[in-house]
Amino acid sequence: MPVGRSIAVLWRDQLAATGAGVARAARPYRARSLMAKLVLAPTVLVMLICFYGSAFWTVYISMTRSFLLPAYAFAGGEQYVRLFHTPRWRVAYGNMFLFGVLDIMGTLFLGTLLAVLLDRRVRFEGVFRTFLLYPLAISFIVTGLTWQWVLSPTIGLQHFVRGLGWNGFVFDWIARPDRAIYTLVLAGIWHQSGLIMAIMLAGLRGVDREIWRAIRVEGIPAWRAYLHIILPMLRPLMVTCVVLIAIAVVKSYDLVVAMTNGGPGFSSDLPGKFVVDFEFERANIGQASAAATVMLGSVLAIVAPYLYFELARKNR
């Protein structure tokens, strides 16, 4: 089974299976079993209580006046009004988009480029792949700490270049409130590009040989073939990649905690960290729930159209 096929399996098959036409296509010979129901009962219960029940609770609490403790009297959008008047949240929320756009563009570009390069029948492909994929095995905590050290003005890159004799060299982005968020993008691209490369490479390897033969017959240069023929064919896969990274961006927490801890000040804060801080350190359940609900809404805003169009594509 080629690398990256499992993602196709998970997403596409799932969509197909849950799509409209499945019920009738379901296997007619499958037998009923009491045991199967008993086995699924805990799963259903866990999903209902821990996932959907809990999510519903959080969304509801975000519409109350809860502060230290949950309160249940409905109060409409008050928490949201206060949330979006909180400077720290506005920074965190804005950062999500800034970080997201740059991270998606960078990761998709680098990942796709690497996939194309490796697709050109490169020697030592295995060695290159090993180098490009190992960051995926490393936790965001270690990733964040490592980049924090590398970019630290006192011991890292700046210190090193100055030591070479270029005394005026300045690279202190990680310590600057207006630049720290960009260093997170760098670490994000470093960590995630391999994943996109693996997915895109699997897609490239699946391209019909006939198409490549036609391209050769026409005498189209390889780079133009990729740019105008092959990659446009893989657009659905690229959309999947964008969705994957976008969801990871909304959820990101560990990386910012380890790398900048949201600082300097709260200049590189992200929603995920805002929620955890407000919930467990500042004990402001209402604000934390409102912020968490915005996170949930952001994920839904990414996933819902994706699922919708994928299902529409499947059923066509």
Partner: protein, 288 residues
């Protein structure tokens, strides 16, 4: 040589140059951390973390493992390592088991609402942890085992359920249905078919699932921070606490050694398992 030929040649050289540069960019952080962990504390201050160690020594590794400090606790990261192992083994075993049985029940037996359950699992995988952390804390507190080893294990099994179930469900759905039919005619029931027909066919997917869960749970930070409690603090949580301690002189050589020790288990799994690892990672990409 023709013009086209030399152009293709330049293209090839450019291609390799680009790949090698990217590989350098990818490996620099790791090399820097390794080099720093082999230095003495004074050496890190005097030069930069980019220089090579003058006389490499494992002293910082020993200190990181046995006596690195988190606040006033100076037990070293081996405490977190053992905690992580204690969390990891039951969590992986239980979540792989739960996922495989759920996937099997969903794919090979007629269960009303199977599609709805699958949709619920699929969408559940997208819910950010932050949305359900607090209610889960409340639930576990009510039951009375919040901040314990069983608590963090249960949480890992819980959050692993959607991806694990769907992974197995999709694998089992691809098996020919004659297998189960034949076994049923022979009088085998739910569990016998699972153990004697399904499991022997599942070796590959079991490896993928185990690797995915092992690296995911080992690298987890947020869940360990919230649910494990002080006594069971996993290695990632301890590492971050050690590295962000602001009191006293920061010992970068010890911190980098601690980071490497934390990164080592999943890195070893990656280097040993190769393709299985990539398959697992791509399948689990929605998690979190």
């Amino acid at each position: 040589m023709t013009a086209a030929g030399s152009q293709a040649r330049i293209g090839r050289i450019g291609l390799y140059a680009l790949l090698i540069w990217t590989c350098l960019f990818f490996s620099i952080p790791l090399l820097v951390v390794i080099a720093t962990s082999l230095k003495t504390s004074d050496e890190v201050r005097a030069f930069s973390i980019f220089s090579l160690p003058a006389s490499p020594s494992l002293a910082a590794w020993v200190k990181a493992w046995f006596s690195a400090c988190t606040g006033l606790n100076c037990g070293g990261v081996h405490v977190g390592f053992l905690n992580s192992v204690r969390i990891l083994i039951p969590s992986v075993a239980l979540s792989v088991f739960a996922g495989s049985v759920t996937g099997y029940a969903l794919s090979q037996w007629r269960v009303r609402g199977a599609n709805i359950i699958m949709l619920a699992l699929l969408l559940g995988a997208f819910i950010p942890y932050q949305v359900i952390l607090y209610p889960l804390v409340k639930i576990f507190s009510t039951v009375g085992f919040y901040s314990t080893l069983p608590c963090i294990i249960a949480v890992h099994v819980l959050f692993g359920l959607p991806v694990m179930s769907l992974l197995f469900r999709n694998f089992y759905a691809g098996l020919p249905e004659e297998l189960v039919k034949a076994a049923r005619i022979d009088g085998a029931g739910f569990w016998r078919i699972f153990v004697w027909v399904m499991l022997p066919l599942s070796v590959n997917i079991l490896i993928v699932a185990t690797i995915l869960q092992t690296t995911g749970i080992w690298n987890d930070y947020l869940l360990g921070l919230i649910f494990a409690g002080r006594e069971n603090m996993p290695m990632t949580v301890q590492l971050n606490a050690i590295s962000t301690t602001s009191t006293g002189i920061i010992e970068y050589n010890v911190n980098t050694a601690a980071a490497l020790l934390t990164a080592l288990p999943p890195l070893i799994i990656y280097f040993v398992s190769g393709r299985y690892f990539v398959r697992g990672i791509t399948a689990g990409a929605v998690k979190g």
